[in-house]
Amino acid sequence: MREVLYDNYLRTARIPHIWCPGCGHGIVLKTMVRAIDQIGWKADEIAMVSGIGCSGRANGYVDFNTLHTTHGRAIAFATGLKLANPSLKVIVVTGDGDGIAIGGNHLIHAARRNLDINVVLFNNFIYGMTGGQVSPTTPLGCTATTAPFGNYEHPFNIAELVAAAGGNFVARGTVYQPVELERLLLKAFEKRGFSFVEAMSPCPTAYGRRNKLKGPVAMMYDLKERSVPLAKAKGLSEPELDGKIVTGVLLDRDKEEYTDIYRQLTARIGGA
């Protein structure tokens, strides 16, 4: 097992982080650091952009160029960053509320453009930071502070939505399977073009407690039970897939990337 000196990447003075005991976000962040360690990017060339929510706090803990933006707009800020300096390695961290409710439009357009940014969506099925309101990924029937009688809105399958929108790499993993998640993040970071990894990351405080998952360990077992690898999922019917988390690589291709196209355009029209 590869040794990673996490403290080389962390702003150690800001650790311990603010996330609750057993929150999966620390696992996602750590796994991202492992992937960055493996790919060998330099800290100075990494720009990590976040939105608002518990996921939004992630980039404050890592020693890169970090930008904590407005709710839902991290991808739009990241678009400006990347276009103005294409040599930056741009990672966006977002959540299921930040990224797919208020931020959904920016997510699908960035995928459509196939801009070379890496979006990691920390999905905890809830609005955690604000106390546990229902999110576009809260499963049917679950209780939340704004769905006190049980959620009756169907949730998104975010990874499938993004894959349909465009991009070159789309995958889903969970914090229960960190080795697999690291593999997916590494492939995402290596891919030229828009890449997206949805990381299922349990919230014991705002989601688990209200939905019969008592504590971080129970939530890990829940992830384990609900996860189905894509190959197996293809053989299951829709009712069988209900409530399941399909993991693996959903999209992997090499369409032309946005800044490459733009550079060719400027060369063609005689620009500087």
């Binding site: 650790i15 311990p16 005991p21 057993g22 999966g24 750590k30 014991p204 360990v217």
Partner: protein
């Protein structure tokens, strides 16, 4: 067999006592004590590193033993 780790370091300031490492250690090396994780049987450790990989707090580090390093 175990004995693959020379040390398991647990930063008790960082550890928030979620219990994940304890529950999912395949060989039951760890336990909860006074709100943080502690090592109870280092000899059983296989240096699989799952405690580290699933620790949300950057609180646990497995130092492989010399024997484990030469074996791998």
């Amino acid at each position: 067999m175990g004995g693959k780790a020379s040390e398991i370091r647990i930063d008790t300031v960082r550890c928030k006592g979620c219990g994940i490492c304890v529950e999912f250690c395949p060989t039951k090396v760890l336990a909860m004590q006074d709100g943080t994780a502690v090592v109870v049987d280092l000899d059983r450790c296989t240096a699989c590193n799952l405690c580290d990989l699933r620790c949300p707090d950057f609180a646990i580090t497995v130092i492989p033993s010399a024997a484990a390093k030469t074996a791998s």
